[in-house]
Amino acid sequence: MPLLDVRNLCVEFKTADGLFKAVDGVDVQVDVGDVLAIVGESGSGKSVSMLAVMGLLPWTANVTADAIVFDGVDFTTAGAKQRRSIIGRDVSMIFQEPMTSLNPCFTVGFQIGEALKTHLALSRSERRKRSIELLEQVGLPEPERRLRAFPHQLSGGMSQRVMIAMAIACKPKLLIADEPTTALDVTIQAQILELLLELQNDTGMALVLITHDMGVVAETAQRVSVQYAGQKVEEQCVQDLFVDAHHPYTHALLAALPERATTRTLPSIPGVVPGQFDRPQGCLFSPRCAFADAQCQSAQPLVQSESLGFARCHYPLLDGKPLQASEVRK
């Protein structure tokens, strides 16, 4: 049984112009100790789907799912209190903007200690001891002094380290990292990723890494889930994905990597992700797909078998060439 098992997750936002579907039938499975990368462009619903799992979406969001089971507890039926006792302890999350994710009015020590107090009921001296330990673990120098620091006295990289220390305070089974390096300098990015992998390796916790950086994916993940316009379009283990992507979108994404470019100008995917008002009737990627035909534009594709990377495509690619309808085993 997977540690996290999300089935048919949908998230809709009430906007002034009606409902906007940000996540559309996404499945996520994460095993114990797994490292899953969720990739996709901005607006593909990757952050929203994980925020929905954590229950952190604003009140304008309407979340539905067949199941969101974490460690045997179904969040769709569990009470708010039971859910709160798991969130922050067994599953925790770090965010894109470390500088604004820490509360400016409280010290680092207070904010780390809070999680320890709430979930583990540690005494003041135990909290202090554990906080120092955590800050050492995330590689912050002078941890004792840092406990008294306020967030505005920290740099972006340091803030993210504090966020990580907070997230791993109760030794979670799953850490969700929502683009943890996007707001940081390139040199710091590598350090933070290295730290996350090191912690994952040491503690054996599972890691979900949300990113739009294929380079990060190649370096860190075991499995990759590709999202497009709120749908999961493909999922494979990382080696296979980079060798043979089955969905045309993944294929085009990989072709756009600078390391893979063969021409003088970088290849790109024409068009943009469909928004609230221009969602195609058929395959959501069909307006931008090089292989789309009339069927793609009229009918929603089904999900292919595991050997084809669960690709949500009428004509999944094999070795870069689309399979014809007769060759596809539905």
Binding site: P58, I86, I87, G88, S101, N103, E114, T118
Partner: protein, 335 residues
């Protein structure tokens, strides 16, 4: 920190001079002659009138009169009240505890109800508690204070007979007023029922004086909370699995308090203006009532002295508010 306080005290000097000019001129712009008012219906001879004019210095040019007044101020001398012939300073501080007691109760009432109301409204944004609280706050803010006071008196004192109509304590009680604060003095007197009587007398004036600050604080707390609730650090607090009470009441509220403190500081000015009406309606023997009487008898020194003292109090309160920012917002403290 000390440098900051000294710099702020430095800015008091021009404000102080400005207020002294305005208050000095304002009372003299009112029609009516204080000496004729003193004489009453019988009037007085021209010789006596000229003699009194010289005695009070009204025969000198306005500029000279102001200069003499300013000279007194620098030595801490507010002059003698025309009416009572006692120093304005002593009169002011004899009555000030009554106003302070009422104002403190009113601001405590406004903060105690306004902040929770604002939080509840923000957390339930758009739902019925929000709409009910905010429309009530708007009514409270729009209500003319004297009319509101009369409505409360008619209902609670008249129809229900629950509260007294005026004064600070029932006439049955007599004890030394050492501190000037009726709540403390009545408690210290040890007389049975004295404290209860003092509290009863405070209830309606407190509500009347606190209503406008209450409405302002509630609305400001709501909007500050709404802004803060969408911040990333509130999401982080939720991600820790903290209870809604702790997320809203600790993580969000602490940040939302920064603009609310400003409004509380500014309400102190409103409170002083409100005290003039409230004290007059409830015959509350404080600064407000004293000033109204002073204006009635054209007691130039009393009114200008009172205005000046109130201005100084408002300035000091706002300095304290600025210092409070530092306690709440660590960015200011450690700059």
């Amino acid at each position: 920190m000390l440098g900051f306080i000294l710099r702020r005290l430095g800015t008091f000097i021009p404000t102080f001079i400005g207020v002294s000019i305005v208050s000095f001129l304002f009372i003299r712009l009112l029609p009516g002659d204080p000496i004729l008012l003193m004489a009453g219906e019988r009037g007085m001879s021209d010789d006596r009138y000229a003699q009194l004019m010289t005695q009070f210095g009204f025969d000198k040019p306005l500029l000279t009169q102001y200069w003499d007044y300013l000279n007194g101020l620098i030595r801490g001398d507010l002059g003698l009240s025309f009416k009572t012939k006692r120093p304005v300073w002593d009169e002011f501080f004899a009555l000030f505890p009554a106003t302070l007691e009422l104002s403190l109760c009113a601001i405590a009432f406004a903060i105690g109800l306004g902040i929770p109301a604002g939080i509840v409204a923000a957390v339930n944004r758009g739902k019925w508690p929000d709409q009910a609280l905010m429309s009530t706050a708007l009514v409270g803010y729009s209500m003319p204070i004297f009319w509101w006071a009369l409505l409360l008196i008619i209902f609670f004192s008249g129809t229900l007979g629950w509260t007294p109509v005026s004064g600070r304590i029932s006439l049955m009680f007599f004890f030394p007023t050492d501190t000037g604060f009726m709540l403390i003095d009545s408690f210290r007197s040890g007389q049975a029922g004295a404290l209860a009587s003092a509290v009863e007398h405070l209830i309606l004036p407190t509500i009347v004086l606190g209503t406008i600050p209450l409405a302002v604080i509630a609305r400001q707390t709501r909007s500050a909370m709404l802004e803060v609730l969408s911040e990333d650090y509130v999401r982080t607090a939720k991600a820790k699995g903290l209870s809604p009470l702790r997320v809203n009441g600790v993580h969000a509220l602490r940040n939302a308090m920064i603009p609310v403190i400003t409004v509380i500081g500014l309400s102190v000015g409103t409170l002083m203006a409100g005290a003039i009406l409230t004290e007059t309606i409830f015959s509350w023997p404080g600064i407000g009532k004293w000033m109204v009487e002073g204006i009635g008898s054209r007691d130039y020194t009393a009114v200008q002295g009172g205005l000046l003292m109130i201005a100084v109090i408002v300035m000091v309160v706002n300095l304290v508010v600025d210092l409070l920012y530092g306690l709440i917002n660590p960015k200011i403290r450690q700059r």
